[in-house]
Subunit: 167 residues, 2 copies
């Protein structure tokens, strides 16, 4: 087993299931005559981020997480997507990016120190395992689950099975 197995398969699984749920959401919006922009702009609460941003952030936590875990250059991706098609492309690009990584790049990553930004002018240093378990994965799951919650709140027929995807 490699530290790779603690990170990459989970990100890939959930991004795949997120994409499938978005396909259902787009069909639902068309069927119910909901403007896609309205659905993508839906929030659980007015001061929370809308569905589109939840998707972008899920992609971002996966991308930056894997880059940081391997000591790779951390990509900075502008959040410009406003349609289902563009958001699906963002998810697909994220999946493609994750698939470029090889288990060997993660060797020793669990104990290597990672310094990452945690607020304006603030950084935190953790081991790779701590970074993954206490920050990167929970943040990623936070956004994919919140996206799922918004879809559910809009009446889209996605359940825990859709959320888990691969099981």
């Amino acid at each position: 087993m490699s530290f790779y197995d603690s990170a990459v398969p989970a990100y890939l699984q959930m991004l795949g299931s997120l994409s499938a749920s978005l396909t259902k959401a787009e069909a639902y919006a068309a069927d119910k005559k909901i403007e896609p922009a309205t659905l993508l702009g839906t929030r659980l609460f007015p001061n929370m981020l809308p569905l589109s941003r939840q998707i972008q952030l899920a992609c971002d936590f996966a991308t930056k997480g894997v880059a940081r875990l391997t000591g790779s250059e951390v990509p900075s991706i502008p959040d410009v997507e406003t349609t289902f098609e563009e958001l699906q492309a963002r998810v697909a690009r994220t999946i493609d990016y994750l698939k470029t990584y090889k288990p060997a790049q993660f060797e020793g990553g669990e104990t290597r120190e990672i310094t990452f930004p945690t607020g304006p002018g603030k950084t935190t240093t953790l081991t790779g395992q701590q970074f993954l378990s206490s920050f990167s994965l929970p943040s990623f799951y936070f956004h994919v689950t919140t996206a799922h919650g918004i879809l559910r709140m809009c009446g889209i027929d996605v359940g825990k099975h859709d959320f888990l995807g691969a099981n």
Copy 2:
């Protein structure tokens, strides 16, 4: 590093932050004259589970996850809690249970096969690492994030910082 570090600290961190968010929720309900049972019965959507069940399920996935990862007896805990106090006690008992585990119990656990129920009359067999990454952790995060979403939807002032807790 031990396989323990991939699992137990994450469960403990999130259960600790869930408990702190519930403390805020109870104070909020008292302040706004919301019946605790109403808040604990709130759902993101009518055919989703209420807050109380999200909390019980988060506890359950942590408890059963760690038991299965170590080949220990899997506890079966009745879902009887109906008040903040009882749910806080459930979370606290779960934390105490997780703390009884030692890293040595997880040795070799990442490659050991785990057979677990995934539906009526259905089981799935995965390696420990796959079980943790593709089923146990995402299910756990699903319920803690959904609980957080319900609290946010009710107007309780908890943010990503409260969700992550230890960071």
